[in-house]
Amino acid sequence: MEADDGRENVPQRLRETIEHDLRPVRPLAGPFRRAALFIPVAAVFLVGVPWVFGLRPDVPLMGPAVSWGLSGLQVLAGIFVLGLALKESVPGNALSPRVLIASAVAAIALVVVVTEVTFAVSPTIAPPPLRAPFLRFCAGFSTLVGTPLVLLAGFLAARALPLRPWVAGGLYGLAAGLIADAGWRLFCEVSSPGHVLVAHGAGVGSLALIGMLGAVVTERVRWGRRDRRE
């Protein structure tokens, strides 16, 4: 199948499919620019969680830098990780294992540092009989409130073509987890590292897992449709 100039022609069936849907498309903006679109959503979330659930009573003791400042920093870290996820979602832009490990380590380190600083400034612990219920409550609800963020981030990533959905999904789930925890820590008044790292950490981890599974399922559905077409 060659044209007169020796060039290979497009097969008829493929040509028909393409021409049927040959509308102009606007190229996606860069991954970090698209991630920046998430900032207003994250800001609403940051204010919305303490507004809905109540602001922790020790905010005056913590001061604006440790309360809102550190949460803002965590949101920015989440936005950065989301940018990485969106970059990973573009074919040919696979992140190296080094970058992936560095992002995961940096995210964990940030949560640990924020926890330690908060505990140093305002040490609060849960009463012993309430420790287990508080753990369950924080892990469950921080996962629940963060799930819409995962879905939204997943929508942004799916507009490209994530070729390693478990990686992209894990990253945008982690991003959603960081943002969700940034809001949740403004509500949860327990600052002991044991509670925060286990309960809030479980929330972040669950959201990363939800992102990973959601992305894999989305990819399977996309390819399942192709299989049925055949």
Partner: protein, 195 residues
């Protein structure tokens, strides 16, 4: 389905075609197809080791390119974007086949064009190389093809496969060493049979 007769890949030309395609021009897609189809066919043939299946995968790759054409950015080269999609198409197809239990391995229509396979020593030699290539572990085979056939640099390969540059170099050199060993063994066997 060889490289012969096809123009070299011109990255600037590919980018212009891609931009025209994104703006809804059919000629952009046609130019893209003409430039990339032979290369994709070779690449997918090296992965699938089945000419018919490789042809199907080429068409499927172009469909995926079409669906995700908005994800291409002019700031980046076209080729890694396209090859990453092609590799993914191959992997998903392989998984689908494995799931359906349809393993189709037909050595008769494996590597190369039937017409070209017929007579000359050169073609036989090429077949021997292809055969040796097919015996390599998939990750080494892919790196060898990307570097020595498609001409990608190790950094590009590393980015696309999500491995370090050193790992890409190592895979390629071990792949070449493997091919060399297989060809040497084959020649020795041939001489022993002849004597």
């Amino acid at each position: 389905m060889t490289n012969e007769g096809h123009p070299d890949i011109d990255e600037m030309g590919l980018r212009d075609s891609m931009l025209a395609y994104q703006s809804g021009r059919a000629d952009g897609f046609e130019l893209l197809y003409a430039s990339l189809a032979p290369l994709l066919r070779r690449y997918l043939l090296s992965l699938a080791r089945d000419g018919v299946r490789a042809e199907d995968l080429v068409q499927e790759t172009f469909l995926q390119i079409h669906r995700s054409r908005r994800s291409y950015s002019a700031a980046h080269p076209v080729l890694p974007w396209v090859l990453a999609i092609a590799r993914h198409v191959f992997l998903m197809d392989r998984r689908s086949r494995e799931r359906r239990g349809r393993r189709e391995v037909s050595p008769g229509r494996a590597v190369g064009e039937p017409a070209a396979r017929a007579e000359t020593d050169r073609v036989l030699e090429r077949e021997a190389v292809a055969h040796a290539l097919a015996q390599l572990p998939p990750e080494r085979r892919e790196t060898v093809v990307l570097h020595h056939v498609e001409g990608l640099g190790f950094r590009e390969i590393a980015v696309r496969l999500g491995i370090s540059e050193a790992a890409a170099k190592m895979r390629s050199s071990r792949g070449i060493a493997g091919i060399r060993a297989l060809l040497t063994g084959r020649r020795k066997r041939g001489k022993a049979d002849g004597s």
